[in-house]
Amino acid sequence: MGSRLLEINHMKKGFDGKGVLEDISLTVEEGEVVSIIGPSGSGKSTLLRCATMLEQMDGGELIYQGQRAVWEKTDKKGDVKCVLAPKDQMKQIKRTFGLVFQNFNLFPHYTVMKNIIDAPVSVDKISRKEAEERAWKLLRQLGLEDKAEAYPFQLSGGQQQRVSIARALALQPKILFFDEPTSALDPELTVEVLKVIKELAKEKMTMIIVTHEMQFAREVSDRIIFMEQGLIQEQGTPEEIFTSSNTRVREFIGKMNA
């Protein structure tokens, strides 16, 4: 396997004194596809939001490609606090990951093309021509080449989610996070989005996917993590998880398949 892209050590996060992530440690190697499953409220989204720094963690350490993004520091009063890497380093670090949201969060006033090329052009400062070439390649790959000039409201949910995947990929992240990418979609639209993710897996895109689609997780993942009450209760290959002797895991998978 390749290099270690992500390392999370003892991540903790609470809201208003209520612990949501108790102590999460996790590493992801290049090319790995990791699925996170677990009951509602177990902290899956919070884990992704802390890992992508949408949420500031309360304790622990977050490392991308060996570069520390967040770590603990004890202040003069002896309180432990998390600090962020300096701005210029953080900018570098943030380029290593992308996030696909459950409800897409496309920019409604931009066409599909503009949604995809705007960040590469105005954030990464690549030329418009290069950004468009990249975008066309992605649109073809995701079966959206006839939608370049459409606005998000003119697309189905499945198409919107594929655009949002294209938008994330256009910045060429090393890791892509997905938070329940299909749970806002009808079953038939779910299929087209899952197909795209499976193709990305074949191309060895490193991905961390929170999902309730058990069959999909089983097919696509190198590793599955079962979370409950802010802790990783169990992790292993799909076979290990689906044949786990842990009653909580069995119960959960049984309920999801029912």
């Binding site: 996030l99 409800n103 969060n105 496309l106 409604p108 960040a119 105005s122 954030v123 990464d124 606005y151």
Partner: protein, 231 residues
């Protein structure tokens, strides 16, 4: 037969009179338009700054701006015009000349309308889903880019209907400038009406205001259409 003829003649002469009065009012109508345009030019950007203050992380700034908005919306604009005009004298003992009448009206209107626009902008900004900010943050946009590229264009579209309402109100509010005898249309119409003991000038002014507002509504409708390319 005769009476109908007489009535028609009466109406005809009234229309002629109305035309003549409207011609008399035309010049003062330009002052009205000036008040309208200058108020928008100043209050719309000022409103955005006030909206930022209202949403500031700093508690003191937020409280001050909140109080300002509250006073502006809670007291009559007519009173505010008087305060702006006479204020410098009562506070600093500075006697402002007649030349200050028009600027005083513009200042009063601008700070009053800025308060209303600020609340409209704030509601618009707060109605943009958090997901838009989060998507922008993940894609690496900085705060300024996020606001000007992602948020503000969407806010424009959302605030257009309430801004239209305010703008139409402003057309009618310009008449409050009569409070300090600025020679805008309403002031003029009242003068003529009093001198000639005739309400026709006031009617003529009404026609002007109405047509002005038809134009304003038309322009705003065009703007809304322009923004209807997305939902």
């Amino acid at each position: 037969m005769d009476t109908i003829w007489n009535i028609l003649l009466d109406i005809y002469s009234m229309v002629l009179d109305l035309g003549a009065v409207m011609a008399q009012l035309a010049e003062s109508f330009l002052v009205t338009v000036q008040i309208f345009v200058l108020t928008l030019v100043f209050s719309m950007p000022l409103g955005l700054i006030v909206a930022f203050g209202r949403m500031s992380k700093n508690r003191i700034i937020r409280a001050i701006v909140k109080a300002y908005i509250s006073v502006m919306r809670g007291t009559p604009l007519m009173l505010q015009i008087l305060v702006v005009y006479f204020g410098p004298f009562y506070v600093f003992r500075i006697r402002m000349g007649n030349g200050f009448r028009f600027p005083a009206v513009i200042i009063a209107f601008a700070i009053n309308y800025a308060a209303y626009f600020a609340e409209i902008y704030r509601a618009g900004i707060e109605s943009i889903p958090a997901g838009q900010y989060e998507a922008a943050q993940i894609l690496g946009y900085n705060k300024v880019q996020t606001f000007f590229k992602i948020i503000l264009p969407q806010v424009f579209k959302r605030v257009l209907p309430p801004v239209t309402n305010e703008t139409i109100t402003l057309v009618k509010d310009t008449s409050l400038a009569f409070t300090i005898s600025v020679a805008e249309m309403f002031t003029k119409a009242k003068q003529i009406a009093a001198a000639e003991a005739n309400i026709l000038p006031l009617m003529a002014a009404g026609v002007f205001y109405y047509i002005f507002n038809l134009v304003v509504a038309w322009v705003m409708e065009r703007l809304e259409k322009k923004f209807s390319y997305y939902r």
